[in-house]
């Protein structure tokens, strides 16, 4: 990287929340992620972009150990959250996932009421001492999910009855309710229409004030709109990582340039 960017980074630099070093991921015999180094800052939106099958979702799922649920998946290298290796054997993935929340591609509200959907996390992690506190957490989370006004009168209605965009914001509220430090979003808008997408993007921008957000997206426009940092993945390699503006206007690597200009992907 050149001197310019170093200067720029010094200006508005933040704490590094997650640091990944030499991360390798294998699916059985397939080497899905090759030697990835990346640093994710606090209170920043980091976007992972790249063509289908480039490993960006796989890498995202490494960050809260969701890959543990897949038998044939092996992860090597170090991923440090606040300086602690999350793959250390002392770490309980359950505790980790409370700190590193996740929102999925398809809105997946539980077949429960809106209230219970949001209260689920606080209940299992024991975040509320009593009903009043729980109510407060639910309201606060729904407000942060920018959906409070739409659902405040029907908290007992099933979450599955909401529209797609509302469901996704409910899922974000649900993730926020466990008081995470990092929010991982795996193509959160790919199942939504443009209006709902715009609402969710706006929400992501607000979330940046409190959380470190990592978003995987297919849409370069989206990455450009919501993120401050962008990482470009290609065939399991992290090709380029830097300021979003720099990646989109002045990519260093020719592969990044080809992707952004639509020649690969």
């Amino acid at each position: 990287m050149n001197d310019m960017s170093r200067v720029e980074r010094t200006v508005d630099s933040k704490d590094i929340k997650i640091a990944a070093k030499n991360v390798q991921v294998y699916y059985g015999d397939t080497h899905a992620i090759k030697d990835v180094d990346v640093e994710i800052e606090d209170k920043t939106v980091t976007a992972f972009i790249g063509p289908s099958g480039c490993g960006k979702s796989t890498f995202l799922r490494c960050l809260n150990r969701m890959n543990d649920t897949i038998d044939i998946c092996r992860v090597k290298g170090d991923i440090l959250l606040d300086g602690e290796d999350i793959y250390d054997k002392r770490v309980d993935p359950v505790q980790l996932r409370a700190k590193v929340g996740m929102v999925f591609q398809k809105p997946n509200p539980f077949p429960k009421s809106i209230y219970d959907n949001v209260a689920y996390g606080p209940r299992i992690h024991g975040l509320a001492k009593n009903k009043a506190e729980l109510d407060e957490i639910v309201e606060k989370s729904l407000r942060r999910g920018a959906i409070w006004d739409e659902v405040k009168d029907r908290l007992d209605a099933p979450g599955t009855g909401l529209s797609g965009g509302q469901q996704q914001r409910l899922c974000i509220a649900r993730a926020v309710a466990t008081a995470p430090e990092v929010l991982l979003m795996d193509e959160p808008c790919s199942a939504l229409d443009p209006i709902a997408t715009a609402q969710v993007e706006e929400l992501i921008d607000e979330l940046r004030e409190r959380y470190s957000v990592v978003i995987v997206t297919h849409s370069m426009q989206q990455a450009a709109r919501v993120s401050q940092k962008t990482a470009f993945f290609h065939l399991g390699n992290l090709v380029e990582f830097g300021e979003t503006g720099q990646i989109f206007t002045n990519p260093v690597d020719p592969r990044t340039e080809s992707y952004i200009t639509g020649r690969i992907g």
Partner: protein, 453 residues
């Protein structure tokens, strides 16, 4: 802050907001304990299920293998011509006039001379000594003489079945303590049995008659076999196969390929899935009311049993056939239709052959289910019938009264003499061998011909 960012790439030192990941808080420990408990419940549930399977199989094997062995006594019988053929002209009709009772003295004297030859000391009378043999021994001797009248006058070596108590004693089921109140055998007789066993003339051996032979009356458990009821089952399976397979396949083809989306089709479909869950005893009532009381088909006949089992198996076959027809991709049908075949030709020339392995698998599984079914057979009289003679000829095989394997097992389990229980378990081993074989064939067929589209 700034000094950190000036050395990018260095390990971040920012402190976590909440506690360290390396320390599990109390709540997490509790939750993890609950997690392992929950997992244990699952393992325990599977363990109980498998344990039950093991107990069941072990029980069947230990209790049933005895039925394949029987205790025999070897005797040289002098077929005295003056007793068996008084006129001396070897006329078979005259020989037949000697009843089984007339053969008793021959066996008694053969036993006496055997005892004398072996030098066995016993206080038993000749009659009591003879009681260790099965009541079937005389009949066996008579059948032999009638079949070989030329042997009269000679001394022939025989292997007679012993009484079921003696057999039980040899197998450890009967002990000196357990016979305290038993009138059919005494401790002296058991001592005598020990002596004969030590002399090597009384021994256990494989008993082919259990597998191939006929059922015997209440008094002679040692002579009972499952062979005739096996034939009954076989004839029933012929009926089931001949009716259920074509009807089931035809019905499935109609429903899967031709049926219009209308009320009738809906009714048929709901009907089939419900028939599959109707208790089997209800099919027995149907068989009794329709086939026997109304149509006056013969009671206890394998034909009627087969018809009842056909109706019972049809839903199973239809459901599996439809699944295999559904698995043939529509592109095959389109391809056939595209070259100008009619829909019927597309189905019969292309879809049906491709679905055949699946249909066959389903049919075998349906047959296996029918083979083990007992309840409907109770009502059409296949239990309680003593299958003492094999059917003569194929028509009789379908129409004359017979039992079936599971019905025979149930019949044995109801009898008073515990010696029959060993027979029942043994029968179950044979029945299960059939079922395991059929299911294995089905699994192999499925593996061998399974196609992934």
């Amino acid at each position: 802050m700034t000094d950190i960012s000036q050395t990018p790439g260095a390990a971040p030192t920012a402190k976590p907001k909440s506690g360290s990941l390396f320390e599990k808080d109390a709540r997490t420990k509790r939750r993890n304990a609950a997690e392992s408990r929950f997992k244990m419940y699952g393992i325990a549930a599977i363990g109980i299920g498998l344990l039950m399977l093991i107990v069941l199989v072990t029980n069947i094997v230990t209790a049933g293998t005895g039925a394949f062995q029987q205790t025999y006594l070897e005797l040289d019988v002098d077929l005295k011509a003056d007793k068996l053929d008084k006129k001396g002209n070897r006329n078979i009709e005259d020989i037949k006039k000697v009843s089984t009772f007339g053969y008793a003295p021959l066996i008694a004297s053969a036993l006496e001379s055997e005892v004398a030859k072996l030098g066995i000391q016993t206080d038993l009378s000749a009659k009591d000594m003879g009681k260790i043999l099965s009541k079937a021994a005389q009949a066996e001797l008579r059948n032999y003489v009638i079949a070989n009248p030329d042997e009269i006058g000679k001394t022939v070596s025989f292997r007679f079945l012993t009484n079921s108590r003696v057999d039980g004693y040899m197998k450890g089921r009967v002990t000196r303590d357990s016979i305290a109140n038993d009138k059919s055998i005494s401790v002296e007789q058991l001592d005598f049995v020990d002596q004969l066993r030590d002399a090597g003339v009384l021994y256990k051996a494989f008993n082919p008659d259990f597998i191939l032979g006929a059922d015997a009356s209440d008094q002679r458990p040692e002579a009972a076999g499952i062979g005739v009821s096996m034939l009954g089952s076989l004839f029933m399976m012929f009926v089931v196969l001949a009716l259920a397979l074509p009807i089931g396949v035809a019905a499935s083809i109609y429903l899967e390929e031709f049926a219009p989306q209308n009320r009738l089709t809906d009714i048929i479909e709901v009907n089939i899935s419900n028939l599959a869950a109707v208790p089997s005893i209800v099919f027995g009532i149907l068989g009794l009311a329709v086939f026997i009381n109304y149509m006056h088909l013969p009671t206890s006949a394998p034909l009627v049993g087969g018809l009842v089992l056909t109706l019972m198996t049809l839903p199973t076959i239809i459901i599996s056939t439809r699944a295999s027809l559904k698995a043939v991709p529509p592109s095959i049908r389109d391809a056939a239709l595209g070259v100008g075949a009619s829909k019927m030709q597309a189905v019969f020339h292309h879809v049906l052959p491709l679905a055949a392995p699946g249909i066959l698998t389903g049919t075998i599984i349906g047959l296996a289910q029918a083979l083990g079914e007992t309840a409907p057979l109770l009502l059409i009289g296949m239990v309680g019938f003593i299958a003492s003679n094999p059917p003569d000829g194929i028509v009789a095989g379908f129409l004359s009264p017979n039992s079936a394997m599971p019905a025979q097992i149930y019949e044995w389990s109801k009898r008073a003499d515990p010696a029959f229980y060993e027979r029942a378990w043994g029968g179950i081993i044979i029945l299960l061998i059939f079922l395991v074989t059929m299911n294995t064939i089905a699994v192999i067929l499925r593996r061998r011909f399974e196609r992934r589209w």
